[in-house]
């Protein structure tokens, strides 16, 4: 899917003593810098999945966390390209939906850890994370349809999966059909169950 570049809010961050600390908190696009390794070329980033953030905490200000679309990814998840007129086409990692939920859980658990134990014990990089996306094309359980897209890991890890795609090829899959509409209904129902913190909500994936 080709979409215009996402941008963060153009806030100016001011420190206690009045100095401009924007460059310590956000990248030029307005996304919050966290514990990833920034500034790597695509080839170096692809060879090092550990460059992706694990705890989503700002290195300069330990009370700032950024999850989902708010954190600055270290780079694209596939080889970037340029059109003949110079427009860069780079695949940004998907960070809404399931990925947001997972990162939100990690951050929430780590904040609890920091309060109770003084250290963080939860971490999950996008190169260790699975995600599913279901795009509905008709919600009828009889003749509806949906495209089901699954990826593991979200960011390719060529060390763990030394194939062409750097992903688990049993999990990573896309298909369209009525089964997708059933999946969508199942996910809606279980998500609302989780959101209401009903019995077993903790074991339901985001």
């Amino acid at each position: 899917m080709l979409v215009p570049q996402f941008l963060g809010q153009p806030f100016k961050y001011i420190g206690k003593d009045g100095e401009d600390i924007t460059s310590k908190i956000a990248n030029p696009a307005g996304f919050i810098l966290v514990d990833g390794i920034y500034g790597l070329e695509y080839s170096a980033l692809a060879a090092n999945p550990d460059a992706w953030p694990a705890v989503y905490q700002n290195k300069n200000y330990q009370n700032i966390f950024a999850g989902g679309i708010a954190f600055a990814p270290p780079g694209p998840i596939s080889q970037p390209h340029k059109t003949p007129n110079g427009t860069v086409i780079a695949a940004a990692p998907p960070r809404t939906g399931m990925v947001s939920g997972i990162i939100g859980r990690i951050i929430a658990k780590n904040i609890i850890d920091l309060i109770k134990k003084g250290r963080m014990t939860h971490h999950e990089r996008m190169s260790e994370m699975a995600a599913a996306c279901i795009a509905s094309m008709g919600d009828s359980l009889w003749d509806g349809s949906a495209a089901t897209i699954m990826m593991y890991p979200v960011v390719p890890d060529e060390r763990k999966y030394p194939n062409e795609h750097g992903r688990d090829l049993f999990v990573t899959h896309m298909e369209m059909g009525l089964a997708g509409a059933w999946m969508k209904r199942m996910i809606h129902t279980t998500f609302m169950h989780k959101l209401r913190a009903r019995i077993g909500w903790k074991i339901i994936p985001e």
Binding site: I102, I106, H122, H123, E124, R125, E128, M129, A130, A132, D143, S145, T148, M150, Y152, P153, D168, F170, V171, H173, E175, M176, G177, L178, A179, G180, W182, M183, P205
Partner: protein
Amino acid sequence: MEISEKEAKRMNNKFIQFYRFIVLNLKILKAVDVSKRA
């Protein structure tokens, strides 16, 4: 992408789609099992 008539029938065949529903669930279960979930 154009969907052929044969493919459209397959996409709404209840038996095939029930099988695919089970397979998709197995894929999600494997993904959740092998991903870190820390």
